[in-house]
Amino acid sequence: MEAAAGGGCGSGPPLLLSEGEQQCYSELFARCAGAAGGGPGSGPPEAARAVPGAVTAAAGPVADLFRASQLPAETLHQITELCGAKRVGYFGPTQFYIALKLIAAAQSGLPVRIESLKCELPLPRFMMSKTDADTRFGNPAELHGAKVQIPYLITEKNTFKRMDDEDKQQETQSPTMSPLASPPSSPPHYQRVPLSHGYSKLRSSTEQMHPAPYEARQPLVQPEGPSSGAAGAKPPRHQASLIRSFSVEREPHDNNSNYPDEPWRITEEQREYYVNQFRSLQPDPSSFISGSVAKNFFTKSKLSIPELSYIWELSDADCDGALTLPEFCAAFHLIVARKNGYPLPEGLPPTLQPEYLQAAFPKPKRECTLFDSYSESMPANQQPRDLNRMEKLSIKDMADFPVPAQDVTSDDKQEQNKTRLEQNKIRLALKSTVDEALPKDMSEDPATSKDSNSLKARPRSRSYSSTSIEEAMKRGEDPPTPPPRPQKTHSRASSLDLNKVFQPSVPATKSGLLPPPPALPPRPCPSQSEQASEAEIHPQLNRAPSQAADSSPTKKDIPYSQPPSKPIRRKFRPENPAPENQEPSSTVGGPASAVTGKPHTAVQKQSSKQKKAIQTAIRKNKEANAVLARLNSELQQQLKEVHQERIALENQLEQLRPVTVL
């Protein structure tokens, strides 16, 4: 290398490179230079000649390469200074090799100094993956992830040991020769990491954020794919998918979409994860997460508050301070993207719009049993119809945001969806709202979509409530008959223990008051009970006027001997207008004549019985009321007195207490 250094611009320290290092560095230099020159195969021979100024590695690929070494920026600056590129202004082979060696030193943990160039170091490691840069260089290299580095390094170490035995002087003189000899045989060794021009496309703003899984995923991301062998492409693809699935389980924030053109799409496993998170915050997937709960949750993501605020603004489409499931997924996805370095969009991307997300939901929701709650809110959204149809193909095949088309198939889809619901009324009602709302959604302008979002949000809630009202109405019609009125009075009078009395009469009344008194349960024979009932009646009559409260017991006793005592009872119920006409028929003959039988009088008697029952109940309640009111006033009086006593006692206490000086 000294020869090269001498031929070059006189960099200071001698650079001792092993043969492996030689090969590696020259290859890398070739790539860097070749990138500048644009031609494959121009690298090694020119580098070997080491003509100063003729071959320089372009700053761009070199910078990429250095960044790929994953050293901090200051270290890289130091390295560039030390290697002399800054001094001479370009990356000649000398500078480049020195820089690479220093990178290796830094990666091994040694300080970045000239002295470390003398050490035996492993090769510098560059975390890059395959891109179409390979096609440019025409190397038959395969895709590699970080894993492939390790075996290579091991083999290199072995060769390195071997080199030690050789004469170092020889080594330094041989670098110009060896690259000439080795390149054709070296492809198997050099498949480490070709330069990735695509790397610069990536967010260079994020340095250390989960490089490995993301790197491994890059092969998937590149749409064309390198023209290298497909066999080589498959294992890393598996690797990448494995890594991706691992990262899903371990580090949810690492998840990004698989689409280079649409980083805002949510994949299936991402959605599953978001839904699980939603459920952990709020068990019912069809309701909201409140603002404060969401705030606490998203603050854990350690993004800054203004960014979180902006993400909220984007994702809360209806600005209600709460997140529904699609809004939550959109917000989560934005947070994940931001953590991985994507700049936040100006407006909500179409794939994160709530309707779009809700459309995608029924697919996973079908597995859950919670589909019904979703199916109710679904018909309120217009676009889901078409999106559901496309869902069946696959989410990945959707290239464009589907614009709802008013065709017959969408109607079929509507029917299909609605049959799941079970409500005919809802089907009809929502069909009309859908048809009129579809034209509104044709435009994708975010402003109008936001308005239509807000417009839809309100009708959505309204239609939901209307469906519930309809359901309730439907169900209200089912219970057939209102409770019959006599039963009410019956229940009210139950306190009077008239149940026993009225129960036999109730069926009679219920069936339309038709059955005549003979349907009554066996009462004491009128002829027999006349005298007995008279005897009963008299003391009862005596008792009756004494107290109003006794009306209830008398009422109880009297109806037992209903037929004979009716007219008498009525005499003492002056407020009962109807039976008063019976009074003149007076005591003994009346009951007999009444019993013998006129159905309409019996009917009258029964209704009057009920009236009496009501009236006695009323009277009783009034009395109870009066008693309680009296009691209340007495107690209040007592309370006042006690208050006064207490005040007097407190005054005394104050006077008796020794005065404290404060």
Binding site: G291, K295, P306, S309, E313, D316, G321
Partner: protein, 153 residues
């Protein structure tokens, strides 16, 4: 030909203030500050009994030679102050009212954001864009007047 929009908190410090063109910012800030006195006058003039019935739109607070200042107060004593160019004679009261209503709606949306602490400066981009659209809209009328004058001149 400048327009300024300011949102003042209950404690009379600005939550959001923006003006076009930006070189005369200090003048507009001063104008808004002095208009707060007028706002307080108007509020207290309504009387305590009418607090609920008080109308939110306060109308023209005071005119100056070049500008007119309009005010609007919410029920939580958050004030919106708008400075409008006097040469913009096409602006009617209804339009000012609708502008205040839009402001109020956007302010409510900002409030709904749980990451926004009441009392912080308003940094919402949606709010910004709404205010920008309002300012540009108001600005777009003035050239019509100027063009009309130029025709006649």
């Amino acid at each position: 030909m400048a327009v300024c929009v300011a949102v003042i908190a209950k404690e009379n410090y600005p939550l959001y203030i923006r003006s076009i063109p930006t070189e005369n910012e200090l003048k507009f800030h001063y104008m808004v500050h002095t208009s707060l006195d007028v706002v307080d006058e108007k509020i207290s003039a309504m009387g305590k009994a009418l607090v609920d019935q008080r109308e939110l739109y306060l109308g023209l607070l005071y005119p100056t030679e070049d500008y007119k200042v309009y005010g609007y107060v919410t029920n939580s004593k958050v004030k919106f102050v708008m400075v409008v160019d006097s040469s913009n004679t096409a602006l009617r009261d209804n339009e000012i009212r609708s502008m205040f209503r839009k402001l109020h709606n956007s302010y409510t949306d900002v409030m709904c954001n749980p990451f926004y602490n009441p009392g912080d400066r308003i940094q919402s981009r949606a709010f910004d864009s709404m205010v920008t659209s309002m300012m540009i809209q108001v600005l777009s009328r003035a050239p019509c007047c100027r063009a009309g004058e130029a025709l006649w001149a």
